[in-house]
Structures are given as structure tokens and as C-alpha cells.
């Protein structure tokens, strides 16, 4: 497939067309929220802020909503039960490479042996237009995790190469969409510009891992007893902010909500996370991760080892959201891994 170059003005036209024609479904994009950024439904291309550092919540919320109804039922002699799967088409514009890596982890977790219709059907009907992150958040360490750039998981990937955007075409779906826009074929010189921009941004990441990302599992293997976990967890609020904002946190709770008329009800799932006190507690009162140190350590192992071993994708894409969100300033996996590495 032919990569392309599009001017900023024509990109705006392309996005406005997507909104107008709904060719790829509802258009969702990165927008300003006060002095921060967040994904939301786009009214027009002018709202789009491709120069953002990080979105408050990762775009996973469109495939794995905070609260999602999965069943509706009617009571009665024989209950009537219907699955609920919202699979409307969506086009996400402005997704950063590390957030795309997060979505790929979700595909692995929610696909696989027991495919989850709720997530996968939304994914199937989605289009992803990524954008390379040229202004990383000071807490981000995606460069160290190898997720600052991605060559999979998008239909189109935009890179700001000065006046224009370089458009890397990832899929035939992306190809047929961009063909409708006013673009020109990318030349080898354009491609060189793109590659240079990408290389330069890697240097803008202020937090770095003091090891290669693929050394983390072995490091954790050797340091189960590390006191870093205890030191860090001492100030943990068990507030769950770190797992709520994380693009690779996949866990959920399931609850029933009967209607007050007692004619029926619904069952929904809601984001849940291992940093919360009740996550591993059973009815007998036993809590399998009772202490905040245990929960803190578990999360670090999830991020650095368990998910990788299970799904071949690292459980942390280095976006830095947890570090931004954590009021105790302890949640960044990079920091914990570095401290362990340094033998602190």
C-alpha cells in the first residue's frame, strides 16, 4: 500500500468528511479538556488536538467502557435473558502509538481461548487513525518500553513532518479511506523525514528505564522479596487511580442491577483493579492480597512480567498515566524497576 502525504488543511477536510459521511462510523478524536486532553465525539476537525501529550483516559474506554451492560433479563417462571453487545462503528482519530499497543494487548486478552463478543465486536467495527506523539508527557517512558512507535494496530498513522502529515497506511481499510482525501504519494524523502521525526522524539522522553524492557521479567523473578515494594507501598492510598487510568489494565467486576419494578434487570461489568482492597477478597472474609505491599507488588509483576508471559505483550506501555494520577507519587513502574535494578 502506498504511503501518503497530506497537508494540514486537507487533513482537516478529510476529518470533516469522515464526520459528515460517517463513512467509518462515529468519529471520535482527541480534544482539549481545560488544560488537559481527552477523547470524545468530534463535532468538527477544528476540535482535534493532534499536538497533545496524553489523554486523561486511554482510548480503551471505547472498546471496554467504564461501565458496560452485558445482559438484560426479565424475571418470570422462565427468565428471559438477552446478551447486550453494542458494536456501533467508530473511527478513533489521534491515538498515540503506546495507546495502540495497549489496544493490541486488549485484543490478545479478550480474544484468544474465550473470545469476548463485547470487546471484539466493537474492535471489529472500529477504525484507528493514530498519530505519532511528538510532545510526550514528562512522566512518560514509552521510548524505553519500545512503544513510542508502532508498526501495527492502526489503519492509518499520522506523523507531523513540518507543514504536512506523513500518512503511514496500515490496512486496506485505511487505504480506501485515505484515497478519498486530497493527498500525494509519499516520496523516499518524505519517509526519511518521518523516520527522523520519530527518532528525534525518542530523545524527548524524560523518564528512562535503566535496563532493556525485555530484562524486566528476569529482574522481577530475582527480586520477589525486594524491599522497594514495601518502601513504595507505605504511602499507597489503595485508591485505584493507577489502574483506572492504565491502557493495559483489563480487569473488571460484574454486578446485577434489578429494576425497581421487579420485572427484570441487567448485569453490567465495571472497571476494577488489583490495587483496590477488596479485589481478591472472598465471602469467607479471606483476602488473598490483604496488604497494600502485596497489591503493589502484584501490580508491578503484572506490568513487568505476568502479562508478557501470558499474552506476549508487555503489561506496561510506558504512557505515564499512572505516574501522573498517583497522588502518593509511587505508581510509575519505571521508577520501581529502576530502584530494584539499582539494588535500592
Amino acid at each position: 500500500m502506498q504511503n501518503r502525504v497530506i497537508s494540514k488543511k486537507d487533513l482537516a477536510g478529510f476529518v470533516d468528511d469522515l464526520i459528515k459521511t460517517k463513512a467509518a462510523g462515529e468519529v471520535i478524536g482527541i480534544k482539549a479538556k481545560d488544560d488537559k486532553f481527552n477523547f470524545g465525539t468530534l463535532k468538527n476537525a477544528a476540535e482535534l488536538r493532534l499536538d497533545y501529550d496524553i489523554a486523561l483516559l486511554p482510548p480503551k474506554k471505547y472498546f471496554f467502557p467504564q461501565i458496560e451492560t452485558v445482559l438484560k433479563y426479565e424475571f418470570g417462571a422462565t427468565p428471559k435473558v438477552e446478551p447486550v453487545v453494542d458494536d456501533k462503528a467508530m473511527c478513533l482519530v489521534g491515538v498515540h502509538p503506546f495507546d495502540i499497543r495497549g489496544i493490541l494487548l486488549f485484543d490478545a486478552v479478550y480474544g484468544g481461548a474465550n473470545p469476548d463478543a463485547n470487546l471484539l465486536m466493537k474492535r471489529r467495527n472500529s477504525t484507528i487513525i493514530g498519530v505519532d506523539c511528538l510532545t510526550p508527557n514528562p512522566k512518560s517512558f514509552a521510548a524505553s518500553m519500545g512503544t513510542a512507535v508502532t508498526d501495527e494496530g492502526f489503519d492509518l498513522m499520522l506523523t507531523d513532518i513540518g507543514g504536512d502529515y506523513f500518512v503511514t497506511v496500515g490496512t486496506t481499510k485505511g487505504d480506501s479511506l485515505i484515497k478519498k482525501a486530497k493527498t500525494r504519494d509519499a516520496t523516499p524523502a518524505d519517509q526519511e523525514k518521518r523516520d527522523k521525526v520519530r527518532k528525534d522524539t525518542l530523545k524527548k522522553y524524560q523518564v528512562t528505564l535503566k535496563m532493556k524492557a525485555d530484562e524486566i521479567p528476569a529482574l522481577l523473578d530475582a527480586n520477589w522479596e525486594s524491599k522497594v515494594f514495601n518502601d513504595k507501598a507505605a504511602t499507597c492510598f489503595s485508591c485505584g487511580s493507577c489502574v483506572m487510568v492504565c491502557p493495559t489494565c483489563v480487569c473488571f467486576d460484574v454486578q446485577d442491577d434489578p429494576a425497581l419494578n421487579l420485572k427484570g434487570g441487567e448485569r453490567y461489568r465495571r472497571w476494577d483493579g488489583c490495587m483496590l482492597t477488596e479485589f481478591a477478597k472472598v465471602a469467607s472474609g479471606e483476602n488473598f492480597r490483604e496488604h497494600k505491599e502485596q497489591r503493589f507488588r502484584h501490580r508491578m509483576y503484572r506490568k513487568g512480567k505476568y502479562l508478557l508471559e501470558r499474552y506476549k505483550y508487555l503489561g506496561c506501555v510506558g504512557c505515564g498515566r499512572c505516574a501522573i494520577a498517583c497522588l502518593a507519587q509511587i505508581a510509575s513502574p519505571a521508577e520501581t524497576f529502576n530502584l530494584i535494578k539499582e539494588g535500592k
Binding site: 479538556k33 481527552n38 483516559l57 467504564q66 487511580s241 419494578n261 494520577a325 497522588l327
Partner: protein, 245 residues
């Protein structure tokens, strides 16, 4: 048969009563799932039996105590509704915090200001089956409790801190706006309404089971805030506290 529900009013603040009035109407209008047999009118305590008795406000006089004991005898399920009844208001909220020895540090000398308030939570006098925290209490929780009763599900206190729902609501953290917030140590279940509404959480729903109080103190200090700043905010939602100062 529909469950018989009664609301009883003790010493509380206006806001709470207004909210309760709202959700009474909601229950009557929308559901018809329950029979409201008593509504706040204290004098008409006849010898009824209630499936659920909601108690608003805290008990401050001997007569109050007698009355709450009578209600308890007739109620299958007794529910403390709102901060005043659940915790005795801010006063006891603070007391509960300070059971964690650490909190003395947070409140410092100000702590003794509050020990003079005689208000005590309903649970100090009678067995309370369920608590619906908040000032004002969240009507969704009253509805959740009624649903639990109707379906036979155990009513459990929401245990996650306010931060969880605050993140789900995609708010910008109050601390990032240079303000302080008690969300990390406060029991959620309110959808973080105050932060979503552009303010911050001042802890009206009582602390979580294991509040990390030292950490909250460090946090305040890091943002250049003192415990007095926090107490100033606490006053806003509780008139009783103001009187005591």
C-alpha cells in the same frame, strides 16, 4: 406484599432533608415498589411495624434516644441515612479518623475543638443494619438499598475510595488544579459528584476502611496546604461544626 418503609427525622441539616424529600418522591412516583407508611412526622409514632426504617439526623437528646430505641423495636431493617445519622456528622467523621492514631498528626491541635460536640451517630444507641453515607446522601444508594431488600441481596457499603469513580468520570484531578481533595481517603459511591461538578471531595461519605492518613497529610503538605485549609472546607458542609467553633 410491598415492603413498608418509614422515614424518621432527627437533628440534621436542611440539605439532607431536601435530598430525602426528593428521593421519596422518586420512589413513590417511579416505582410504587414500596409503601411509605411514615414520613418524617415524629409525633405520629403509632405502633406500626416497618420493613425499613430510614433514620435521618443524629440523636442529641434523651428523648431522641428513647424514640430511636422504640423505632428499632418495630423495624426489621434500620438504616442510618446521611452523614449525621451514620457518623454524627463531621464531628464523628473526625473521631473515626483519629481512631487511627495517625490522624492526630493531621488535625494537630485543632482536634480538641471537636471533642466538645455531644452529637453521636445512631449506631451508638441502636443496632444499625445499613449505612447510607453522605451529606447529602446519594439517592441512588437509597434505591440500591431498596433493590437489595426486594431481591434479597446483601447491601454492602461501597468500599472503593472516591478516586475510582472520579477517574471513571474522566475528571481532571483537583490536585492538578492546585486544590486539595479528600477523595483518596473517602468512601465513594457518589460518582464523585463534587469533583465532576468542578469542586472537590470534602469527605462527606466518611473514610474508607483503611485510610492512609499519613499519606494524605504528606500530600496536603506537598501542595502547600495545611490541615486548617482542610477544616475550613469541612465547615462548609456542616453547620454544626461552624457553631462549635
Amino acid at each position: 406484599m410491598k415492603p413498608r418503609v418509614a422515614f424518621f427525622d432527627f437533628t440534621g441539616c436542611e440539605g439532607c432533608q431536601l435530598e430525602v424529600l426528593n428521593f421519596n418522591l422518586e420512589i413513590v412516583d417511579l416505582i410504587g415498589a414500596v409503601d411509605i407508611v411514615e414520613f418524617r412526622e415524629a409525633s405520629s409514632d403509632h405502633s406500626d411495624e416497618y420493613d425499613i426504617a430510614f433514620i435521618e439526623g443524629s440523636q442529641t437528646t434523651d428523648r431522641d434516644v428513647e424514640r430511636i430505641q422504640k423505632i428499632r423495636e418495630r423495624a426489621k431493617i434500620l438504616v442510618a441515612l446521611g452523614a449525621c445519622s451514620c457518623t454524627g456528622g463531621v464531628n464523628a467523621l473526625k473521631n473515626r479518623f483519629s481512631m487511627e492514631e495517625n490522624l492526630k498528626v493531621v488535625y494537630g491541635d485543632s482536634a480538641k475543638l471537636y471533642t466538645t460536640i455531644p452529637t453521636r451517630p445512631t449506631s451508638a444507641y441502636v443496632k444499625v443494619d445499613a449505612f447510607i453515607h453522605g451529606c447529602p446522601p446519594n439517592r441512588n444508594e437509597v434505591i440500591r438499598l431498596v433493590k437489595c431488600l426486594l431481591t434479597g441481596k446483601k447491601f454492602e457499603l461501597y468500599h472503593d475510595p472516591v478516586c475510582v469513580e472520579c477517574k471513571l468520570a474522566e475528571n481532571i484531578c483537583a490536585f492538578e488544579r492546585g486544590e486539595f481533595c479528600l477523595g483518596p481517603v473517602t468512601r465513594g459511591g457518589c460518582n464523585a459528584v463534587c469533583v465532576t461538578g468542578g469542586r472537590k471531595c470534602w469527605g462527606c461519605r466518611a473514610p474508607v476502611d483503611e485510610p492512609n492518613v499519613n499519606s494524605e497529610k504528606e500530600l496536603l503538605a506537598r501542595y502547600g496546604l495545611t490541615v486548617d485549609d482542610m477544616l475550613m472546607q469541612l465547615k462548609i458542609f456542616n453547620g454544626a461544626l461552624e457553631v462549635s467553633k
